[in-house]
């Protein structure tokens, strides 16, 4: 198992030709964890990755490896890292020649190289592929070779720039799970660039959402992915914008949040009365019913009345959005349930959720 190191960047500024500037005052990846840099195309995430991976020198800023400042000229630091990009970029020749490339740069003895190559290929599910020409590989196999080529170096930091983006969705999901398992076993520090929320959720401990060169949200995956910091982040993550409110009562681990004229929700959180907060409820924790139905677990403290404003297909289910006061809350509903309830846009509905389902943060 590799011993990961902490990786950080501070005061990074780098102008882009497109006009905006990568501007990251500070970002940190604790040792042995995976940080997903999530954002739309052109948001600067790949450039930030290149800066963190010592592949590009920013106009300004510092990169810290285990607290020590390092640069693109620091070969020792660079040898502690490895990267896998969106396309595998395999070198012409055999699979073995590709996987052992970094080892030969590190002057590892030939016999050891062969052993490590074989082990790395086995780990990515390509045992017996060593002698194959890279020209004969499928897209998924090629990407696995690219991962093996990086893993064989036992890097302390692994940089992954949309490593699954060029693959079909099925293969991409399967490889995401495989990659995440392998990386957790290795204990390596990982920066994973992606524009796919599900991929980020599947692989990352922490998530940093980027927009126009800036990190607009950064924190544990469970927080960032369930409580968007602002309207843009919510829209990007395919969520409803966060609700805004003021804590009116607090006690016994619960707060009452006033959000609009006659709406109050109860959340499991600890904030002083008067604190302005944002909140959100994950769609999978929201139960929706017709206005007159008796539903929901008895322990659900929040039973609000709202109006259905949107019904959108989301794969096998439907996403129904109800407006409660000024706040939009979404729920995932099966096709059968939607038909049974007969809910239509503009109709009244009950929105039910537990206090523990509400994610709250100070504004």
């Amino acid at each position: 198992m590799t011993v990961g190191v902490s990786l950080a960047a501070a005061d990074v500024r780098h102008p882009f030709r497109s006009g905006f500037t990568l501007d990251v005052p500070r970002i940190e990846v604790p040792a042995g964890t995976t940080l997903a840099l999530l954002g739309p195309s052109g948001s600067g995430k790949s450039t930030l990755l290149a800066v963190l991976g010592l592949l590009q020198t920013p106009a300004r800023g510092r990169v810290l490896l285990d607290g020590e400042e390092v640069s693109t000229r620091d070969r020792r630091a660079r040898l502690a890292m490895a990267a896998v990009f969106q396309r595998p970029y395999l070198f012409k020749g055999t699979v073995a020649a590709n996987v052992e490339y970094g080892l030969s740069l590190r002057k590892v003895a030939r016999e050891k190289r062969a052993q490590r190559v074989e082990m790395a290929l086995e780990r990515v599910g390509l045992a017996g592929f060593a002698a194959r020409s890279v020209a004969t590989l499928s897209g998924g196999e090629a990407q696995r070779v690219a991962l093996a080529r990086a893993l064989v170096l036992e890097p302390r930091v692994l940089l992954l720039d949309e490593p699954l983006a060029s693959l079909d969705p099925l293969l991409s999901r399967r490889l995401a799970a495989d990659f995440a398992t392998i990386l957790r076993q290795d204990g390596v520090t990982v920066v994973w660039v992606t524009h796919d929320h599900d991929e980020a959720r599947a692989v990352a401990d922490d998530v940093a959402v980027m927009n126009a060169g800036q990190v607009v949200a950064h924190g544990p995956s469970a927080d960032v992915m369930t409580l968007p910091a602002d309207e843009w982040t919510a829209e990007f993550l395919g969520m409803e914008p966060p609700g805004h409110g003021v804590v009116t009562e607090a006690g016994e681990g619960l707060v009452h949040i006033a959000c609009g004229a006659a709406t109050e929700i109860v959340a499991a959180a600890s904030y002083e009365p008067g604190t302005r907060v944002i909140f959100a409820v994950p769609p999978e924790d929201v139960l929706l019913a017709t206005a007159d139905a008796r539903v929901g677990p008895l322990s659900a403290r929040n039973r609000l009345r709202g109006t259905v404003v949107r019904i959108e297909p989301r794969g096998a289910t439907w996403r129904v959005v109800a407006k409660v006061g000024e706040t939009s809350l979404a729920s995932m509903v099966s096709r059968a349930a939607l038909d049974e309830m007969g809910l239509r846009v503009g109709e009244a509905a009950q929105v039910v959720f537990k206090a523990t389902a509400v994610r709250v943060a100070a504004e």
Binding site: A50, L55, A83, F85, G93, A135, T136
Partner: protein
């Protein structure tokens, strides 16, 4: 048509009997052009790599020069080299005029731009990300160059073929700086010119056949290398 038949018969007789000292001339040609191509590769490949991988105004200007250099008239090169090495020229003291060294210098000037331009084209076709990938695995700038050149090796074979082809068949420059001295600076092209002037078509034709044969053999060899590399890359054996 008789002129051709006579020349062919005479040429064949000369080659078969060994009366014509062909091999001295052939060896001189191969030595001069081989040396010029090798040195041109030594300079041309790194320069071509630099031109093919950089994105700057200087790169564009240098590329224009290299492309223009590909069309340099050999006689112009011969003239400048001859003037430079002549007794009154800046390098006249070296006494190199009418030597194989002077011929290598002239051919080097002709071959280098060809190799630079072809290498630059081949290298620029290698994705920039491949170098970035190598860098991310710990490659130094030198390793990056080695890898890129290896990836562009098909183009490099073309560069060798183009460079060698441009000078082995060239006559103007070598004539001017070499002087066609028998046993020293007489190469196939200058000998062919001389025999033709003297009306000894059989001699000229025999040498021309060998020259074509050498060019053909070099290209067959390089094509075999290319094909074998292609098959290897495609995973065929």
């Amino acid at each position: 048509m008789r002129i051709y038949a006579d020349a062919v018969i005479e040429g064949w007789r000369l080659l078969a009997s060994g009366a014509l000292d062909v091999w001295t001339i052939v060896l001189a040609s191969l030595r001069v052009s081989g040396a010029a191509t090798s040195i041109a590769l030594l300079f041309g490949v790194p320069l071509g790599y630099w031109l093919g991988t950089r994105r700057s105004v200087a790169r564009h200007v240098a590329l224009v020069f290299a492309n223009t250099g590909m069309g340099l008239p050999p006689v112009a090169v011969g003239l400048v080299v001859a003037m430079t090495l002549s007794r009154r020229g800046p390098l006249g003291d070296l006494g190199l005029l009418y030597s194989q060294t002077a011929m290598v210098i002239a051919q080097l000037i002709i071959a280098t731009p060809v190799i630079v331009a072809v290498t630059a084209a081949a290298v620029s076709a290698v994705p920039r990300e491949l170098r970035l990938q190598a860098r991310s695995l710990g490659a130094s700038p030198f390793h990056e160059m080695l890898l890129t050149v290896r990836e562009a090796r098909m183009g490099l074979v073309a560069a060798v073929a183009a460079g060698f082809g441009a000078i082995i068949s060239e006559v103007g420059a070598v004539q001017m700086v070499g002087g066609n001295l028998a046993g020293e600076t007489r190469v196939m092209t200058t000998a062919i010119v001389q025999f033709t002037r003297m009306g000894r078509y059989g001699h000229a034709l025999a040498l021309a056949a060998i020259l074509v044969g050498i060019v053909l053999a070099v290209n067959v060899l390089l094509t075999a290398v290319q094909t074998s590399a292609e098959r290897h890359e495609a995973g065929l054996r």
